[in-house]
Symmetry: C2
Subunit: 124 residues, 2 copies
């Protein structure tokens, strides 16, 4: 079980693009993030480089351009980050956390239905 490195807020944004469109070039990531953030290309490239250094992203050289791909799945990163959040903010207690979110955020009737089914499945 490999230890998942800490991924910073900014790095999450980069990873999200990569998980969505891997493999992708730095240019593609830059293009995507320039739209959603006000980061300069150099900023984004630094973030890419740091993720590579952390072992979260890998790359394959294609000519003079690199093709980047995730070394850790989105699911795994989400799981690790979720666990960390749950522990830090709720001391590991799931129910109070769920109650907090259910109180504060919006859900459609279909989503509520689906969650109820999921809870019922958890009773088995």
């Amino acid at each position: 079980m490999i230890k998942i490195p800490n991924i910073s807020d900014a790095e999450w944004e980069v990873m999200k693009i990569c998980w969505l469109s891997a493999p992708c070039s730095a240019n593609e990531i830059v293009k995507a993030l320039e739209q959603s953030t006000h980061w300069k290309p150099n900023t984004i490239k630094t973030l890419i480089g740091r993720l590579v250094k952390k072992g979260v992203l890998g790359f394959k050289e294609e000519g003079r351009s690199y093709s980047y791909y995730p070394l850790i799945t989105e699911e795994e990163c989400i799981k690790a980050e979720s666990k960390s959040f749950l522990t830090r903010v709720f001391g590991g207690a799931l129910k109070p956390m769920l109650v907090t979110f259910l109180k504060d955020e919006k859900l459609s009737p279909a989503e509520i239905e689906e969650l109820k089914l999921l809870l019922e499945k958890r009773e088995d």
Copy 2:
């Protein structure tokens, strides 16, 4: 609506003690955290000082000792951190987040029952 400053992981630990037993002296915080962490008293005092600087903790002088109290409620901090987490990791989508947690973590039958009720209440 005051902007809640970012509270680091270590600072969360300090705040949790304070929310639990406010008002409290630095010594009380130190005693509590020495048990649950391997931090030196100086470390904990620094964290306290930073929280004061961030405007998250206030204090009242009592002799040469300070009595610390939270300037932001636990609920508010949890809400802010939860929102930030939801946005960063799930792009703001509540259902996928709930699904992830329900898949990965344990709940007692009573807790499941309670959550179902809460979901039903959300349907109204």
